[in-house]
C-alpha cells in the first residue's frame, strides 16, 4: 500500500452557490471514506473473556453505536472482525475461513493479549500464539481483557485508518473508471 498524505478536507473541498443549487467539489476518496468510516460494522466473533468486554462496549455505557459501529452476525455483512479471545488450533482454520468470507475492504482488530500473542496461554499446547499467524491484523489492543475504553480507542484508530485510505486505488481500481466511461458514452 502506498503512503497516503493527510488531506485537509477544508482545503480540497470547494463549495459554490449557483442558480441551480449548491455545487460541492471534493476529493472522491474523501467523500467515500467519510461515509465508510461512519458505518463500520463488525462481526460478532467472541470466543473468550474479551467477548464479555466486547458486549459491554456495545452496551449502554460505552455505546459503540454512536460511531456507527454495530455488530453483525454474518461475516458477509461486516466490514471488520474483532478477534476477541483465545484462538486454539482447532479454531484457527475457522477464523481464516471467516476472514475470507468478509467482503472487501476488510480489517482485523485483534483484541486482548490472547489473540495478540497467546498471552497468558503461551505455555499451552493448544493455543495459537497470535492471530496474526493466520490473518493480517490492522489494530492490536493490549490488555487481559482490555477495558471498553481501550477497545473504543482502537476502533477510533481503525476509523482513522479507513479515513486515510485511497479507496478507489486499492479496492475499486480500473473497474470504476471503466464504469464511469461507460455511463458517459451511454448518455
Amino acid at each position: 500500500m502506498s503512503k497516503v498524505e493527510k488531506v485537509d478536507i477544508t482545503k480540497t473541498t470547494h463549495i459554490e452557490h449557483t442558480a441551480d443549487g449548491v455545487i460541492m467539489v471534493t476529493n472522491l476518496d474523501l467523500a467515500v471514506n467519510w461515509a465508510r468510516k461512519n458505518s463500520l460494522w463488525y462481526l460478532l466473533f467472541a470466543t473468550a473473556c474479551c467477548g464479555i468486554e466486547l458486549m459491554q462496549t456495545g452496551g449502554p455505557r460505552a455505546d459503540l453505536d454512536r460511531f456507527g459501529v454495530v455488530f453483525r452476525n454474518s461475516p458477509r455483512q461486516s466490514d471488520f472482525i474483532i478477534v476477541a479471545g483465545t484462538i486454539t488450533y482447532k479454531m484457527a482454520e475457522r477464523v481464516r475461513r471467516l476472514y475470507d468470507q468478509l467482503a472487501d475492504p476488510k480489517y482485523v482488530l485483534s483484541m486482548g493479549s490472547c489473540s495478540n500473542t497467546g498471552g497468558l496461554f503461551q505455555h499451552s499446547y493448544s493455543v495459537l500464539k497470535g492471530v496474526d499467524k493466520i490473518v493480517p491484523v490492522d489494530v492490536y489492543v493490549a490488555g487481559c481483557p482490555p477495558r471498553p475504553e481501550a477497545l473504543t480507542h482502537a476502533i477510533l484508530k481503525l476509523r482513522e485508518k479507513v479515513g486515510r485510505e485511497p479507496y478507489f486505488k486499492n479496492y475499486v481500481g480500473t473497474r470504476f473508471f471503466k464504469f464511469m466511461r461507460w455511463i458517459k458514452n451511454d448518455n
Binding site: Y89, K90, A92, E93, T117, G118, Q122, Y125, S126, L128, K129, G130, K133, I134
Partner: protein, 175 residues
C-alpha cells in the same frame, strides 16, 4: 458412610478385587481392579446403602516413574451425602479400563476427555473419540512426557520473544 465403611462393605462383596484403602491423604481413596470395575460401579450405583447417583469427575493422573496411569473417579450420593474416591491403576503402555457410561450418562464425555488427554482406552464405550483436541492431533497432551509439535497444519506453534528481536538481550542458552 465414611470411606472405611464403604471399603469394608465392598471388600465383603468383591474380595480381592478391592485392592487397598489409602487413608493417608485428605480424601481417602479405594483402589480397585480395573478388570472388575464395571461390576463394582454397578454395585456402587444400585446398592440402596451406597447409592452413588452422581458421578462428579473422572481424572487421569500420569505417573511416569511408576509406569502407571491412575484414573480417579469421584462419586457422590445425594441420598446419603457421602463421597467416594475410587482409583484404578493402569499400565502406562497399554491403559485399558471398563467404560461406565451405561451407568452414569455423563461418564461418556468424561471418559472421552481422559482418552483424549491421557490415551486411556475405555473398553465397551458407546463412543470413544477425541473430545477436546482435533481428530488428527498426535499424542496425548496431558501425559508428563508430552512434547508440543513444532507446527500444526502449517501453522507454527512458536512465537519469538519480542525482547530478543532487537538483539539487545541474548536468549538463554538451551540446555
Amino acid at each position: 458412610m465414611i470411606t472405611k465403611e464403604i471399603f469394608e462393605k465392598l471388600k465383603e462383596k468383591f474380595g480381592d478385587d478391592i485392592i487397598r484403602l489409602d487413608e493417608s491423604v485428605k480424601d481417602p481413596f479405594v483402589v480397585v481392579n480395573p478388570q472388575k470395575w464395571l461390576e463394582i460401579a454397578k454395585y456402587l450405583h444400585d446398592d440402596p446403602d451406597l447409592y452413588f447417583d452422581f458421578l462428579m469427575s473422572i481424572a487421569g493422573v500420569d505417573y511416569p516413574d511408576e509406569n502407571l496411569i491412575r484414573v480417579v473417579y469421584h462419586l457422590w450420593s445425594y441420598k446419603h451425602r457421602h463421597m467416594l474416591v475410587v482409583k484404578v491403576e493402569l499400565n502406562r503402555e497399554n491403559p485399558v479400563v471398563d467404560s461406565i457410561d451405561s451407568i452414569w450418562a455423563n461418564a461418556n464425555w468424561l471418559e472421552r476427555e481422559t482418552y483424549d488427554l491421557f490415551g486411556v482406552v475405555f473398553k465397551g464405550s458407546r463412543n470413544l473419540k477425541r473430545l477436546l483436541m482435533p481428530e488428527d492431533w498426535e499424542g496425548h497432551p496431558m501425559r508428563k512426557d508430552y512434547e508440543e509439535p513444532k507446527e500444526y497444519h502449517g501453522i507454527s506453534t512458536e512465537r519469538e520473544n519480542p525482547v530478543y528481536l532487537f538483539h539487545l538481550v541474548k536468549p538463554p542458552e538451551e540446555e
